[in-house]
């Protein structure tokens, strides 16, 4: 008895000898883990592939169908004097210049409205009133707004301008107002996230040096978060640039180029695509020349869709470049 106790005390004082073999996984256990690992790998890769299929399919289909009519003539003309499926004087079949101008101007108008409002709103939420009833209410409203259907935004803008500028008013800026309604929540949310991850130390350091709050916000907080704010805004633009429904009812539709955002109807690319799709077929009168193409509306719709994708792509690239240029240089 005493011997055994002695043995124990001796063992505990010495380094414990661990029998690692005892813990060694059995061969079947290792195999099971490996199988599970492979299975999960396959599932995850498959999920990735499945997520990519529609994306690549959309891009590929648009490219294949759109490239046919995608040329300089198409980009530099509008739809005036296009009769049925007949070729125009320049051997083109009309174009989308008016829609490109419309899309860019209306989206720029929406940016001018919603980016300042969105950024200031999130500055208020992160810098001035982190908690409290008002900020909770704003958060709730932003969440609700980010879920409203785009057609409702269109209705809002339409009825607002009906009251302000007379019933049935349609112009490009009305479209900008509708789009800004859809943009603001996205801008507020992304900017708020970006401002929140600015370290508090930076703010405190700045304030401790006697810098005013206003300068702290503009020169330190917003400056640090700038790349994130820019990419958030680009995301918001990408969200609204393809909107059809609100623009259909606010910006109208016209075949000639209208560069005045504040007067007259404007065509945008998504609306152009929709209208061309609805036309389905152009008429070629009996005995017309071989250059008359009955399927031209669909081909124009595809080419315009391709242009829209390209514009979004370019915007994304610009956003990335801006974000890189303004990134805070560490060291």
């Amino acid at each position: 008895m005493s011997d055994s106790r002695n043995d124990n005390s001796q063992q505990s004082s010495a380094t414990p000898v661990i029998d690692f073999d005892k813990f060694k996984p059995t061969r079947s256990y290792t195999a099971a883990r490996k199988r599970k690992d492979i299975a999960m790998h396959v599932l995850i890769v498959m999920a990735f592939v499945i997520a990519c299929i529609p994306l690549i399919s959309v891009l590929w289909t648009t490219l294949v169908n759109g490239i046919h009519r995608f040329n300089w003539d198409f980009l530099s003309h509008n739809m005036t004097n296009v009769i049925g499926g007949e070729a125009t004087a320049t051997n083109g079949y009309g174009g989308i210049l008016h829609a490109i101008v419309g899309t860019l101007e209306i989206t720029a108008g929406a940016m001018v409205i919603s980016i300042p409002v969105g950024i200031m709103c999130s500055v208020f939420l992160t810098e001035y009133r982190q908690t409290g009833r008002l900020s909770r209410m704003i958060h709730l409203l932003v969440d609700v707004m980010s879920g409203i259907p785009s057609i409702v935004a269109g209705l809002f803008a339409f009825s607002m301008f009906a009251i302000l500028a007379g019933p049935g008013t349609l112009n490009g800026f009305e479209g900008s107002v509708a789009l800004s309604l859809l943009m603001i929540p996205t801008v507020v949310k992304t900017t708020e996230e970006m401002l929140m991850i600015v370290p508090n130390d930076l703010r405190e350091a700045s304030l401790a040096l006697g810098v005013t709050k206003q300068r702290t916000i503009t020169k330190v907080v917003l400056r640090t978060a700038l790349p994130g704010i820019v990419s958030g805004s680009i995301l918001a633009i990408a969200r609204v640039i393809g909107e059809t429904a609100p623009l259909l009812m606010t910006a109208g539709y016209i075949v000639s180029t209208n560069a005045n955002l504040f007067s007259g109807q404007m065509t945008t690319l998504p609306v152009f695509v929709y209208q061309e799709y609805s036309k389905l077929r152009a008429n070629c009168p009996v005995g017309s020349s071989a250059s008359c193409v009955t399927t031209i509306p669909m081909e124009r719709a595809w080419a315009a869709a391709l242009m829209l994708i390209l514009i979004v792509l370019v915007l994304n690239l610009i956003g990335r470049i801006i974000a890189r240029v303004f990134a805070v240089k560490t060291k």
Binding site: V82, A89, G92, S256
Partner: protein, 365 residues
């Protein structure tokens, strides 16, 4: 900028005689309404602006109902509609017109083809397949009482073809449409025993499946064998068409045949409001080579507007689009049927009554 702002990217004016006359009209004018007229209106805008370069005209194809509503708010110079104005709408127009009430004149006539996709038929010379049907047969197919292609009624009218034992799938418009309205008007007039639904722009029964827009209907029919539907003749491409029984013969749809049916129709009488030219389409016509399934689409304007420029524009616009050259442009651009002469003379009278001077004279008399 590379180009002057106003004409940025405009295509060169179309060659040849567009038929519009220079009238010294300038300004921006907007119209809205029926999507059926879109291709024609775009051609008319080209023709009109080529002779009146100071004008900028927009046309928003929002649909007939929306077009009339917008017009009644005073936001547009004219409305295009597949349906004549109701008495209530004529009354409402008093508030937007300078004097008098709005009136409608037909500007666009287009045959509606009953179109189908059925394999195994021999295409005719025009590249389309054809089947013969009379009005009761068409009505029975669209009300669901004839459900198979080899039905005795069908086989009997098409003795030369072997019809397959295949179910008939009806495809109709799921959205509100003037095409639906005009098509069911035909069924109701020509086959009253088999078509008892009320007239409406919405499809009245649950037979078959709906598809949005002419595009949707034509695409759906193109995709499946054994389908039948209706759509504007210019949209159906190479799908089969039903030759409709008129009198003792079966008539293939064509713009010329549609014009003949309208020429054999009357102007509706005892309508609310002055100057109105509403065609009471004679769906049961027995005139030679007349095709009675026709869409008639109207332009709705005021006799006098609050703004003198708009009055001038509307008068010049209507004169152009209902004129021979304008109708030729529409035929070229949209495959529509030209207005028949007897209707045109009525339209002339209405157009001549437009403008402040004409209205004053009328009151003096």
């Amino acid at each position: 900028m590379l180009c002057t702002v106003a004409a940025c990217g405009d295509n060169a004016p179309i060659g040849g005689d567009t038929g519009a006359e220079a009238s010294g009209i300038t300004g921006n004018y907007a119209g809205a309404g029926a999507s059926s007229q879109q291709a024609a209106v775009e051609a008319w805008i080209s023709g009109f602006t080529s002779k009146n370069p100071g004008t900028s005209i927009s046309y928003n194809p929002t649909g007939s109902g929306a077009g009339v509503t917008t017009f009644l708010t005073g936001a547009t110079a004219w409305a295009a509609s597949d349906k004549a104005l109701s008495a209530k709408e004529v009354q409402e127009s008093k508030s937007v017109c300078g004097s008098g009430t709005a009136f409608d004149v037909p500007v666009y006539i287009s045959p509606i083809a009953v179109t189908f996709n059925l394999g195994g038929l021999e295409p005719a010379k025009d590249g389309r397949t054809h089947l013969n049907m009379d009005a009761p047969t068409i009505a029975k197919i669209f009300n669901g009482s004839i459900t198979r292609w080899n039905d005795a009624a069908l086989q009997q009218q098409n003795p030369d073809v072997k019809l397959p034992d295949l179910p008939i799938t009806v495809v109709h418009r799921s959205d509100k449409s003037g095409t639906t309205q005009n098509f069911v008007e035909y069924l109701k007039a020509a086959a009253p025993d088999d078509w008892k639904y009320d007239l409406s722009e919405n499809w009245p029964n649950n037979v078959g499946q709906g598809a949005k827009g002419s595009t949707g209907v034509v695409n759906t029919i193109g995709q499946a064998n054994g389908t039948i539907g209706y759509s504007d003749l210019s949209t159906i491409g190479t799908l089969g068409t039903v030759d409709v029984k008129v009198g003792d013969q079966y008539v293939t749809p064509s713009p010329e045949a549609a014009t003949k049916a309208i020429a054999d129709s009357q102007i509706a009488k005892n309508l609310e409001g002055a100057n109105r030219v509403v065609i009471d389409v004679n769906h049961t016509t027995s005139a030679d080579d007349a095709y009675p399934v026709v869409l008639v689409s109207y332009d709705i304007v005021c006799p006098v507007y609050k703004d003198e420029g708009t009055t001038k524009f509307a008068k010049a616009w209507l004169t152009y689009v209902t004129g021979e050259a304008g109708q030729r442009m529409a035929q070229r651009a949209a495959g529509s049927a030209p207005l028949p002469q007897n209707i045109v003379s009525h339209i002339r009278t209405s157009i001549n009554a437009m403008g402040a001077d004409a209205q004053d004279q009328k009151e003096d008399r």
